[in-house]
Amino acid sequence: MKSLQGLQAFLVGGFIWTALLINPQRTFAIYNMKVGDPMPEFNLPKAEEPSERFNSKELIGKPSAVIFWRPGQEFSLEALRELETVIKEIGTDKVNTVSVDVSRSSNEELHSVFKDGPLSYPVLLDPERALYGKVGVIVAPTTLMFDAKGILRFVAPSFPGQYKRVALARFRFLLGEIDQDEMERRISPAVLKIEHEQALAWRRYNLGRKLEENGKATDAMGLYELAISDYPQLVQAQCSLGFLKLAQGELQPAAAFFETALGYQPAFSEANLGKAAVLVRLDRFDEAKTILLKLKEENPVAIRAYYELGRLYQAQGQTGKALEAYEAALAKLYPETPAEDENKNR
């Protein structure tokens, strides 16, 4: 019963979180506007030159952002900086942006904010909080995003860690560069997780291969066995074990590993190759030949497929065909190196 309640709480919580994260209708950070409302008209002085004024009509025609902020508040300053990088990434000519200082800061305080360089967008002053009140701002910073017609589409309160990501995705959506699904995916990307058992199995397999290359077949075999005990679906490890058993002349165990791999992935080339190699050694030439003829043009198993074909023909006494197959294997193995020269430096 308790676990059922827990599951219920989890599902309800999960639904609420998901809905909140992607729902653009949230307007909890402002109390006088809601998504879908037209941009309030305003005509505010510019901080740089208070005799000049900026009219809200200048924002219409392109997607726009209006950020309410105040100097001396870290979240505001970080939001201003990130919005600047967002606009530069999007293209300053593609969107309109203004910031509205809602504080009663002195000129010195205001200018100290931009001592490292001005913003690419205007800073407006709203000391009487006329626009602030029209919008009903509750927190600073608050970023409103309007579409090209001046309709409020998104509200972003404060400065969460994903501010830049969210702003970028929303601007791209308003510009028509991405659809809503893609916007939501960008705002809330999938959580990256490593499947540890699989990862460990792959590491063991990869190390096993290197040990095998260095002549440590017994160590390699131990690692392959560990790998498939962690993750039996790792067909590469199944096949590696199969080939090592094959090299030791243990045909039945080898066949079992190849069959297991084929059970997981019927088309897995290496497993089919291994199966054919076992069949060659069991003198079941017709079955082996059918498989090998399919594999001989399939990289990267073609080299070994030709080699096994060579063995097959040799066992059947077809020396000429065997020689051709071995040469084809060598040609694939060293496509640009004459067979004689490759012995050097070994």
Binding site: G13, I16, W17, F75, S158, V191, W202, P300, R304, T319
Partner: protein, 452 residues
């Protein structure tokens, strides 16, 4: 997540090439014995290695242009002489063998792991050549591949993870596996070069400062995986390389009541699931807007000052936490038409309640995390061991409440009520009576033992 299937079967060719050559050689011999093809293949002398068609002058040394020069042609060369590792077994057949096998051959000069608790796989298997070329390499330490790429040749899942991560751990230059992991052996799990959190704090000094000066620590930093409880040092899709979305990360632990040295902490997960009106930062999944997960000098790990008590003589400095987002003049301006919706005409009701000798803290009326009423107004106000109903009702242009503190009073932004009631004067702040306990105790998400 799908695992990178980097491993290819082609490398197996190295092993079976010899077998292939033997088979080819055997076939040639068959051909030689055949009457139909009784012609000796050109350039092959039976039973003699092709390189030995001419006697080899060993006085010239191994590194001549025609012999083994390419082995030591790279920038970084292993400094021993050839004979330090190789013994001449048979001059006639130019047969050399290694003095001893790896790793003993390597340990003759290099340190070997003795009492190390954790040993890297290749070292544990005694195969130094998995990572190092014993002759020369274009890469320092005679590695086979540069930087992280070398590690990814076995740790294939990491390469995929790092390539997919939107948020990387530092720059590409900074993000080197060997900054955190030893490649041979270590006493720390995962071959970490030192214990956590000190390993992380070597770079993240500012976090170290916070931890050092914290009077309220976060247990997550000292238990289980420590820093890695919350962060994924290999990269993630979340800011601050959090392993999951921040709120999920917090609720992974805060999903049941907790007894701590600093008080009881409620089951935040259930509380937030059952109370749909969330505080702004929580709507954003941003618990760290108010709490510092690395430690704090404020109760509840609050990142800035906030009054611990229910009643406080007003001082704006005590509300620094709130001013992180909210406008300070919210409680500084007695009159306003823009700062807040909680006003009776121009009378700022926040000012009235907070800015006074016996001022209320915000959470006297608001839920800090989540509630059921608009603006997270509380259903009940915890007061000592008791709680009383707030009875808050919202209207189109205002609202009303009838708590234990005073009789039912209303406010309206458009048609203000004189002193909260039609036909009467607004009482002076001092006239508001102290809170009176009423009603039954209530289970708040955080037990506010300090609300006395």
């Amino acid at each position: 997540m799908p695992i990178n299937k980097r491993a290819s079967q082609t490398d197996r060719s190295v092993i079976f090439t010899r077998a292939l050559k033997l088979a080819l050689g055997a076939l040639f011999l068959i051909a030689l014995n055949s009457a139909a093809t009784a012609q000796e293949p050109k350039g092959i002398t039976e039973g003699v290695h092709p390189l030995l068609r001419e006697p080899i002058d060993l006085t010239e040394g191994c590194i001549t242009a025609d012999c083994h020069a390419p082995l030591v042609a790279e920038e970084f060369v292993h400094f021993p002489e050839c004979e330090d590792c190789h013994d001449l077994e048979d001059e006639a057949t130019h047969l050399f063998t290694l003095n001893s096998g790896s790793p003993d051959l390597c340990y003759a000069c290099h340190d070997e792991p003795e009492d190390a608790k954790f040993i890297h796989g290749p070292v544990a298997h005694g195969d130094c050549m998995v990572c190092h070329n014993p002759h020369s390499s274009p890469i320092e330490f005679l590695l086979e591949e540069p930087g992280n790429k070398h590690c990814y040749s076995c740790h294939t899942e990491m390469e995929e993870h790092v390539s997919l991560a939107e948020v990387q751990h530092g720059t590409e230059e900074d993000f080197q596996c060997t900054k955190c992991h030893d490649v041979h052996w270590e006493d720390q799990e995962f071959l970490l070069v030192s214990d956590m959190p000190s390993l992380c704090l070597e770079c993240h000094e500012e976090v170290g400062e916070i931890i050092e000066h914290a009077t309220v620590p976060h247990e997550a930093l000292t238990t289980d995986k420590k820093c890695v409880n919350c962060h994924n040092p290999h990269g993630s899709n979340e800011p601050k390389i959090l392993a999951d979305k921040q709120v999920n990360q917090c609720l992974e632990c805060h999903n049941e009541p907790m007894e701590t040295e600093y008080g009881e902490i409620g089951d935040m997960k259930t509380w937030m699931a059952e109370n749909p009106v969330h505080h702004g930062p929580i709507e954003e999944g941003n618990c760290a807007a108010c709490h510092n997960p690395h430690g704090s000098q404020n109760f509840r790990l609050l990142s800035q000052a906030y009054p611990k008590k229910f009643y406080n003589k007003f001082d704006a400095e005590n509300f620094q936490l709130c001013w992180e987002c909210h406008e300070q003049t919210l409680v500084m301006d007695e009159k306003t038409t823009t700062l807040t919706g909680f006003r009776n005409g121009e009378d700022n009701m926040h000012y009235l309640h907070v800015n006074r000798d016996k001022g209320r803290s915000c959470r006297a009326c608001h839920e800090m995390h989540a509630g059921t009423k608009p603006l997270q107004m509380k259903d009940q106000v915890p007061f000592g061991k008791w709680a009383f109903d707030l009875n808050f009702e919202k209207t189109e242009s205002g609202g009303s409440c009838a708590p234990g503190c005073h009789e039912e009073l209303a406010y309206d932004r458009v048609e203000p009520f004189p002193q909260g009631r039609p036909g009467e004067e607004t009482p002076a702040p001092e006239a508001i009576p102290a809170a009176v306990p009423a009603a039954a105790p209530v289970a708040a998400p955080i037990v506010t033992s300090e609300a006395k």
